[in-house]
């Protein structure tokens, strides 16, 4: 008997890898030496991108790869689950912004060469629109301590009385980022735990000056937030001085600082010398005179839409001044003066302003001791107003009846606005 032996029943053409696949694999393998991407067919390009290593040096990929899928992989590999929405649905932007933020946040002056930051600039300057710096490390005095760990460890061992406590100098960076629109910075150290030292949270005058100059050089900036950085009057004045006549700045946030009346006066000056639309200075130490200065600026201002003075101590003096400014101002839409130690006279002034003003849509008076009479006066003022849709008077010791009436008026106004 003869036996017929099948050559290979499993064999099929599909098993043999195609030459194109081999080539693509090779390209992927040698991408670092010879990056070939744009010359490929679209389908092949997708295959290559799928297989490209995320650990490739950025100097190769930054300006070559524009496909989101690759950058998505990079982001997810590095930071796990991410939300791409705040970054304008751009994974690449997200990657570079967060990458740059990481570099700056872990930058230790005098120890790490500023070149490491500057090297990144040509790679990421086209993609970075926003920088959120949530910590800045101070320089280290004792070099014998370990510094390759994260900032909290190094900071903890820092000397007390170093002559220079200056942080990263933004002057070398900001004028090179041509697309930067939003800049948040906090001069503090995150997660220091039990290694807490007061001088970890130091914002020196020289820091302030260099930051201000850097901000002045960045002409595309729209949003600036300097929070929790111990900005006092002098620093605030320096900042404002450099921000006067800034061509594009629209939003300024100096919350959680220790700005007093002189700083507030400087901010008032800034209000009419720039195109600010939003100003937030909540949780500071602004008192009556500072609020009066801001109110005076408001009477002449035509750009500001939103003003937040929460958690200051402007008192009746400032409250009345603001209410009188509302009589003349025709642009402000949102005003927050919660928790400001205001009492009944302010309520009277605000109610008068409500009768006259037709622009204001939201006002927050919560946590002020307006009292029962203040509530009644407010209620009367509201009865003549047709534009206000939000009025927060919680925890103001007012009568429930007037509170309810005000809510009714607000509802009416809201339905009117809705019908329009």
């Amino acid at each position: 008997m003869r036996r017929i032996i099948a050559e290979d029943p499993e064999w099929s053409l599909a098993v043999v890898p195609q030459l194109t696949n081999l080539c693509l694999q090779h390209i992927v393998k040698n991408f670092e030496e010879k990056p070939i991407l744009d010359e490929l067919l679209p389908s092949h390009k997708a295959q290559v991108l799928e297989k490209l290593s995320t650990s490739l040096p950025l100097s190769i990929t930054a300006n070559l790869v524009s496909q989101e899928s690759y950058w998505k992989r990079c982001c997810e590999e590095r930071w796990g689950l991410c939300d791409v929405l705040p970054y304008g649905d751009s994974w690449k932007r997200m990657f570079f912004e967060r990458h740059l933020e990481n570099i700056i946040e872990l930058f230790i002056p005098d120890l790490i060469d500023p070149k490491t930051v500057l090297d990144m600039v040509p790679l990421c300057k086209n993609y970075v629109k926003r920088l959120i710096i949530s910590q800045l490390l101070p320089p280290i005095r004792e070099p014998q301590k370990l510094e390759e760990d994260d900032g909290s460890d190094t900071a903890s061992d820092m000397g007390y009385n170093g002559p220079s406590m200056d942080h990263f100098d933004f002057r070398i960076l900001l004028d090179k980022l041509t697309n930067l629109e939003e800049f948040h910075v906090m001069y503090r150290v995150k997660g220091c735990g039990m290694n807490f030292e007061w001088n970890l949270f130091e914002f020196t005058l020289r820091d302030c000056e260099s930051l201000a100059k850097a901000l002045q050089s960045c002409k595309t900036l729209k949003v600036l937030k300097i929070q929790q950085s111990k900005v006092d009057d002098a620093k605030c004045r320096v900042l404002v001085n450099y921000l006067l006549e800034h061509p594009s700045l629209q939003e300024l946030d100096l919350s959680h600082n220790i700005i007093g009346d002189r700083g507030a006066r400087a901010i008032g000056k800034l209000l009419n010398k720039s195109a600010l639309k939003t100003l937030s200075v909540y949780d500071n130490q602004i008192q009556g005179p500072g609020a009066q200065a801001i109110a005076h600026a408001l009477t002449k201002n035509t750009t500001l839409l939103s003003l937040n003075l929460r958690l200051n101590r402007i008192g009746d003096e400032g409250g009345q001044a603001l209410a009188q400014a509302l009589l003349k101002n025709e642009t402000l839409v949102y005003l927050h003066v919660g928790a400001n130690e205001m009492t009944e006279p302010t309520a009277t002034a605000v109610s008068q302003a409500l009768v006259m003003n037709t622009r204001l849509k939201s006002i927050n008076l919560s946590c002020n001791k307006l009292g029962v009479d203040g509530g009644k006066v407010l209620e009367e003022g509201m009865s003549h107003n047709t534009t206000l849709v939000e009025c927060d008077i919680r925890l103001t010791d007012t009568n429930q009846v007037s509170e309810f009436c005000i809510a009714q008026f607000l509802l009416n106004n809201k339905s009117k606005a809705h019908l329009k």
Binding site: L311, G338, A339, S366, C367, D392, R394, L395, Q408
Partner: protein
């Protein structure tokens, strides 16, 4: 959610909720009321239903939206409540802190002040102690100082303790706050989650409701449309069926028709085929014939061709001859042309010289004419002078004769003398035929025109002038004359020069027409009044002639035109008139011309005139005179003789005296002069 919220929060929410519901209910009611009103007004049903349906879903959407916004605001309020509370607490804490700090500062200040006082005291005591010399005292003072210092230190320590305790308390409080805040954050997160959950749930519900409403609406709509669809499909099916039946019927009809037509066509085809075949045969026959004729013709043509060729050759010969001839002729022609040109030149020159001659002759002629006129005038004058002279002589003679006659009669014959009739004696100068002075045509026309004008105001004048006119115009009315003239004026504008018209434009109408007429008259050749009347008369006659010719046509025309000639005929009539007039005028002018010359004078009359002058003494008287002459002659002769005798006597007497004188002179020359004188006188008496 409402359960989860604070008590007063919940109450507010419930209140506002109910209020909102009330508002929506009211709105709905108003909407339905308006709807009902509209329905009543319009009485339409279909659009109303649609509207209502749409409204249902819309209302649902609106309601859901409102409910959701309320839910959301309530939820956010709930969440932010924590924030607000924290804010309040924070501000409270700050206030407290400030207060505490103030107290602390005060306390510290007080403490500092009191300790400073104590320190001063101690210092003072040191100076006192220095003055003390006793060791006992010094020791006492030292111990007291020591005590005082200890007290001061104790005070300070106490303060430090207090402050440290405060710090501890704050530390604790900080920890507490931290905890509290952590709790708050937890609560906030919990509330947020709660809200998210409730929101999701309610959103889902609302979505379901909206979807349901939409589905209901859709279903209703679908049903309606379906019904509609079915109805229409049914209609369509019926129609299709009907059309199909019709079509089948038509197909059958057309099949029959086709069959019939086919049969007919086949028959026709056969007939035509036969006809065509016969025709083909005919044609073939004819073709044969034609071919024969063709051959014949070809032969003929060949012959003709030969002939023509010959003739052609001949012709070419002739042609060459002719050509030569033509060239010769051409030469001759050129010569002749040259000659002709010369001739023309010559003739032109001649012509020029002749015209010059002519001009010269004309000038001569004119000069001669002028001379002639001059001489004629001179002749006439001379003639008249001679005439007058002769007449005078004759008259003198006659008068003499008559005187003589009278003398003869009175003295010789002793008869009374009767002078013969002598009419011519009063006459002097040559006898001239005197033509009446004729008024010119223009004056006549003017008169005619004016006559009409003045007709109304002064009838007498009209009578007079018309009478005068009638005298010569042979009964032609002045009015008609005027009409004729006006006609002429209107119709014969072509005879007037353009320049004249231009010049006349500013002048008055009457004057204008007058001037026009003048020029027209001069053009036609009418010179005097008589001609004008002749013309009018001619026109009248012409009209009558026409009338007789075309009585019927003219009677039809109006009364105004019946008096006069029709404007259209004026030209014809005028031409006829001018033709006639010119003829007569020519004759007249010739007569006049001859009358003007001297030869043409009335010699017979002259002769008679002179005869009468000559015959002033009649024959009988001559005879008498002859007899008387004879007698007188005799008497004369007698008288002559006597006179002769007398003369002789006279002579003798003279001689006598002469002699006496001589004698006297001779004899008495000295003395006797007196003797002589008487002798002389005696002689003279003798």
């Amino acid at each position: 959610m409402r359960k989860a919220g604070n008590s007063y929060e919940a109450q507010g929410a419930a209140n506002s909720d109910s209020a909102a519901e009330r508002i929506t209910a009211r709105r709905l009611r108003i909407g339905t009321r308006n709807e009902a009103k509209k329905r009543q007004e319009l009485g339409q049903e279909c659009p109303k239903v649609v509207e209502e349906e749409v409204r249902k879903s819309q209302v649902q959407v609106e309601q859901s939206e409102r409910r959701m916004t309320k839910l959301q605001t309530n939820g956010t309020e709930l969440v932010t409540n924590i924030l607000v509370a924290t804010d309040a607490r924070e501000s409270q804490r700050r206030k407290e802190l400030e207060e505490a700090r103030r107290l602390r500062l005060e306390k510290l200040e007080n403490e500092g002040k009191s300790s400073y006082e104590k320190f001063q005291e101690i210092n003072e005591k040191w100076t006192i102690a220095k003055t003390k010399e006793l060791p006992q005292d010094l020791r006492d003072a030292q111990s007291s100082q020591q005590q005082l210092c200890a007290q001061l230190i104790a005070d300070k320590n106490q303060l430090i303790n207090e402050l440290q305790q405060e710090l501890k308390a704050f530390d604790e409080r900080y920890v507490k706050d931290l905890k509290k805040q952590a709790e708050d954050v937890d609560l906030m997160i919990a509330r947020m989650e709660d809200q998210v959950r409730t929101l999701i749930k309610s959103y889902r519900q609302e979505l379901d409701q909206i979807e349901n409403s939409f589905e209901d609406e859709q279903e209703a709509l679908l049903m309606e449309k379906k019904e509609n669809w079915e109805q229409q499909t049914k209609q369509r099916r019926d129609k299709e069926m009907e059309l199909l039946l019709q079509r089948i019927k038509q197909v059958e009809e057309y099949g029959d028709l086709l069959q019939k037509l086919r049969a007919e066509d086949a028959e026709e085809f056969n007939i035509i085929k036969i006809k065509l075949e016969t025709e083909v045969e005919d044609r073939e026959q004819r073709l044969q014939q034609e071919k024969a004729i063709h051959q014949l013709n070809q032969e003929k043509l060949d012959y003709n061709y030969q002939m023509l060729k010959n003739s052609d050759e001949e012709k070419t010969i002739i042609m060459s001859v002719q050509k030569r001839k033509i060239t010769r002729m051409q030469d001759a022609l050129n010569n002749l042309k040259g000659k002709c040109a010369n001739q023309v030149k010559q003739s032109r020159e001649e012509n020029q010289s002749l015209t010059e001659d002519y001009k010269r002759n004309m000038q001569q002629y004119k000069r001669v004419e002028k001379k002639m006129k001059h001489f004629a005038a001179v002749n006439a004058k001379r003639f008249e002078d001679v005439w007058l002279m002769n007449e005078e002589e004759v008259k003198a003679l006659v008068r003499k004769v008559l005187e003589v006659d009278r003398l003869i009669h009175e003295q010789q014959l002793g008869l009374t003398w009767v002078p013969p009739p002598m009419p011519f004696m009063e006459q002097s100068g040559p006898t001239v035929t005197q033509h009446p002075a004729q008024t010119s045509a223009r004056q006549a026309a003017a008169k005619a025109l004016q006559a009409d004008e003045q007709e109304d105001k002064a009838e007498q004048d009209v009578v007079e002038s018309s009478g005068g006119l009638e005298r010569k115009g042979a009964g032609v009315d002045g009015k008609t004359v005027k009409q004729v003239l006006e006609l002429l004026c209107d119709e014969t504008g072509f005879l007037i020069e353009d320049k004249l018209l231009k010049l006349l434009s500013p002048v008055e109408k009457d004057e204008q027409s007058l001037m026009k007429l003048d020029s027209v008259f001069s053009a036609i050749g009418i010179e005097n009044e008589e001609d004008v009347y002749k013309m009018t008369d001619f026109f009248m006659k012409y009209k009558q002639k026409l009338k007789e010719q075309e009585e019927v046509t003219l009677t039809l025309s109006g009364g105004g035109s019946s008096d006069l000639i029709h404007p259209n005929d004026v030209l014809v009539a005028l031409r006829a008139f001018t033709a006639q007039h010119c003829r007569s005028r020519k004759g007249q002018s010739q007569q006049q011309h001859s009358g003007l010359s001297l030869e043409g004078r009335d010699e017979a009359e002259d002769a008679k005139y002179w005869e009468s002058l000559a015959n002033i003494i009649p024959e009988s008287k001559l005879k008498l005179w002859a007899a008387l002459e004879a007698a007188l002659n005799m008497y004369h002769s007698e008288l002559m003789a006597r006179s002769k005798l007398l003369e002789e006597t006279k002579n003798l007497k003279q001689q006598n005296t002469e002699i006496k004188m001589l004698l006297y002179q001779h004899y008495i020359p000295k003395v006797h002069a007196e003797v002589e004188v008487p002798q002389m006188v005696h002689f003279a008496h003798k």
